[in-house]
Amino acid sequence: MDYSFYQHYWWFLISLLGALLVFLTFVQGGQSLLYQIGKTDLERTMLVNTLGRKWEFTFTTLVTFGGAFFASFPLFYSTSFGGAYWAWMALLFCFIIQAVSYEFRSKNGNLLGKKTFDIFLIINGVGILLLGVVVATMFTGSEFVVNKANLTNTTMPVISTWSNPLHGLEALLNVRNILLGLAVLFLARILGELYFIQTIDDRNIQARSRKWLLWDTALFLVFFLTFLVWTLVAKGYAVDPETQVVSLVSAKYLHNLLEMPIVLVVFLLGVVSVLFGILRTLLKPGFIQGIWFAGIGSVATVLALLLIAGWNNTAYYPSTTDIQSSLTINNSSSSLFTLQVMSIVSLLIPFVLWYIYKAWKAINVKQIDAAEMKGNDMKY
């Protein structure tokens, strides 16, 4: 197994972590619905408690996604985080306020009041749009220059420099980025609604979740399909495998899908699974397992999208300022030795997924209901 194998393997793991993260944003989607689905304090308590038993998975996946990206593609870490400063900081602020809100919201003496912490949860929920925006820049590009020789300039040794003074906020001015941001937000809301339907035994919450599911699905499809079609037909950033020269190629991402049939199949199965989970939930009132179909489907779809961003000789983080500064899995990865060490560690992932599944099942064995919220069990 050569260097290229490990680079592709690690791009796969990064894509998988990113895809799992998008699935787990059902927590954020659910938070954004706090006042739309929860009309009474008790209803909101049920919503918060069913999400509150899972929020740390999303949080941990985000942190692990960051750590794994750092370990495997450190040039992305230094270029994107150091350059798109405000975009990442805004996203991180959304997560900081989330982390305390579950624990603090219903505690006496929390100083800010329950409503403030609920608003924090809603900000974090809607803020997930930013994740979609920064991911979209992997297709649309960002304004930066990478020059490793800068390191020898002792007065200005910074290797990666950002060319736009807005430092990441300019990504919000790109329509295609916003489209993916909105698609991620509405997908998160769909997953949140499906999760409520599965885990809460309450007629009103079930009914309102189904009502919002219809609207959010419609909006998701509009934003996602527009982004998808636009991206598939747009010019993409191709890398010459021999010379490593980056160039713009028409419909690069469509070609990637067609040239990697397994990825295409994963993508199509993912889309079908998402739609099946939603439609069956909408059409069959007693069906509550839609979250699994839509969840697994979103993992497959996002995984495929991220794979076409980085595999098949594609620059996964293009530079619109200096196209040759674009990051590829080849020019931005860790050394072979580090990737090998990390690959051994990655063998733990199935074991981690196994115990997460066991613990998830143990906690979700029974649906949450009003009686449990009024009882003496620990709750938020």
């Binding site: 750590g67 750092f70 040039l75 870490y77 150091g82 991180l92 040794p157 990655s346 906690i363």
Partner: protein
């Protein structure tokens, strides 16, 4: 010519210091209290006594309040390596990123998976599964500490790597050398065992408060019984590993040791300052002003601590800047220490070697590339010195390092006596009747936090200006953003974290006042 704004470096350091200090207010309690509640639940599991369950759940509630804010303040630290220290992220990301990724895969998922079972699983899973979840939560938290401390230790003692001039970065060559470096092992055990002190001091203080209020006397007695023993064990181990850490500092970061001791002029049979007040008039290592206004010192002890030999020479700040003293290499070979100026000259040669190597590769001049690479490799040990403008930059803040070190040691020593006494009095049933002991227990709580924060200040201030010892100073590591942007996020973090801290304290106090009966409100 474009240059970096120096205030950007200072603000970036300030932001990292702010977020790290806040984060460290919560982590030691998680590490210490986590083990204590696990032991308590083990008692419940073994005896079936419902009182132990009630006690466990009470402390677990406080653990949860603290844990949440620990997570909130922790996420930013990982990403700040990228947002504020982007050059660092590339220059050593090949080595530094790995522990962070392993921390996520191995530790964070364990913690976040089982904490949900720990809090919400009391009536959903078996007693055995629940107990295992509690232990796995704290094992996950401790493993997380291991990996982040391995990463931090590597910055203080970069080992197991080589510099690759083609990729312009350091690359990992020996994973085991990174993981099991003596600095990492000492740092891990010292940090974790010192966190046990914080957890124990917390439990003893709150138990003492209950006793003062004549409430929950059984809970208090049982809690003190565990916390005092655990605290004593933690303090003794922290003293032992602290000595190991100090030895490593002496070997790998002699300037930090000199700052810790306020040692400006090197000494044979160097004295260890037990207590001292620095002379505030001293402004520079070479101003001729006496460093101490008052001091009580023991001759030879610093030499013993630094070199395991009472009679050896320990260099001071001046010696380290001016060089010329005799040194001993790894294999006992005798040499002469270089001056700061000589190191800076070598650093410049290393940077020049890299620059010429890159140019030579660009024009395919193999012979020049070979010569330049040899120049780089010969001088690479001093690479970071090439970015130092003034040798005085090499001296960290001596008063801050000195006072925090001594405060940490004095408080640490006090805790050995305190926990031994608390355990003894609790066993003899005299703890409750001695008001002075109860007040002393309350005082222990802020002291434990001060001691813990001091440890980090010593470690991080004492190593300045280095981000990676001798290889990368802070001014070489920052991102290219405006100082104003970092000032803005600094203020935002300061306000947000302060508000959250007060909120947490207020909740914690209310919850303690309610006691175990108010767990679900």
């Amino acid at each position: 010519m474009e240059t970096l704004d120096l205030s950007l470096v200072d603000w970036s350091r300030a932001q990292f210091a702010l977020t790290a200090i806040y984060h460290w207010l919560f982590v030691p309690l998680t590490l210490g209290l986590g083990v204590i509640i696990s032991v308590m639940e083990t008692y419940y599991y073994k005896t079936g006594d419902e009182e132990w369950k009630r006690i466990t759940q009470f402390w677990m509630k406080l653990f949860g309040i603290n844990f949440a804010i620990g997570i909130a303040t922790g996420i930013i630290l990982e990403f700040e390596f990228g947002t504020n220290w982007s050059n660092y992220s590339w220059f050593v990301g090949d080595i530094f990123g790995a522990p962070l990724a392993i921390e996520g895969i191995m530790a964070f998922f364990m913690e976040s998976t089982f904490i949900a079972v720990m809090f919400f699983g009391w009536n959903k899973v078996s007693k055995k599964f629940h107990l295992a979840s509690t232990w796995l939560t704290i094992i996950g938290a401790t493993l997380s500490a291991l990996w982040i401390l391995v990463a931090n230790a590597w910055m203080q003692f970069p080992d197991g790597m080589h510099f690759n001039p083609d990729t312009v970065r350091n690359e990992m060559a020996d994973f085991w050398a990174v993981l099991f470096s003596p600095v990492a092992m000492n740092k891990f055990f010292h940090t974790v065992t010192s966190s046990w002190i914080v957890g124990s001091a917390f439990v003893v203080a709150i138990s003492a408060w209950f006793i003062l209020k004549k409430r929950e006397l059984d809970l208090a007695k049982k809690s003190i019984r565990i916390a005092a023993v655990f605290g004593l064990l933690g303090t003794l181990l922290a003293a032992f590993t602290g000595d190991g850490s100090a030895y490593q500092v002496a070997q790998k970061q002699p300037m930090k040791l000199a700052a810790m001791e306020g040692l400006y002029q090197g000494q044979n049979k160097a004295e260890l300052v037990g207590f001292g007040i620095l002379n505030p008039s001293k402004s520079s290592y070479d101003d001729g002003v006496q460093p101490f206004a008052v001091k009580i010192a023991v001759p030879g002890l610093l030499s013993l601590m630094a070199n395991r030999d009472l009679n050896t020479f320990v260099p001071g700040v001046t010696d380290l800047i001016e060089g010329g003293y005799a040194t001993k290499g790894k294999n006992g070979e005798v040499g002469v220490a270089l001056s700061a100026e000589q190191k800076m000259a070598k650093g410049k040669l290393a940077v020049e070697g890299l620059k010429n190597y890159k140019l030579a590769r660009l024009v395919s001049n193999d012979s020049l590339a070979k010569v330049s690479k040899a120049q780089l490799e010969e001088n690479f040990a001093y690479f970071g010195y090439g970015y130092i403008k003034d040798k005085k930059e090499l001296v960290p803040n001596v008063p801050l390092t000195f006072y925090t070190f001594h405060l940490m040691v004095i408080i640490g020593m006090y805790f050995i006596l305190f926990f031994a006494l608390a355990w003894f009095m609790n066993q003899k049933n005299t703890f409750n009747s001695q008001k002075w002991m109860l007040w002393l227990s309350l005082l222990g709580l802020p002291l434990a936090y001060i001691c813990s924060e001091c440890g980090w200040i010593v470690a991080e201030v004492g190593r300045q200006p280095w981000v990676i010892q001798d290889i990368m100073p802070a001014n070489m590591a920052v991102s290219q953003i405006s100082a104003g942007a970092v000032q803005t996020t600094f203020v935002l973090f300061a306000v947000l974290f302060t508000v959250l801290l007060f909120s947490e304290l207020s909740i914690m106090i209310k919850q303690i006042k309610k006691g175990p009966e108010g767990l679900n409100h």
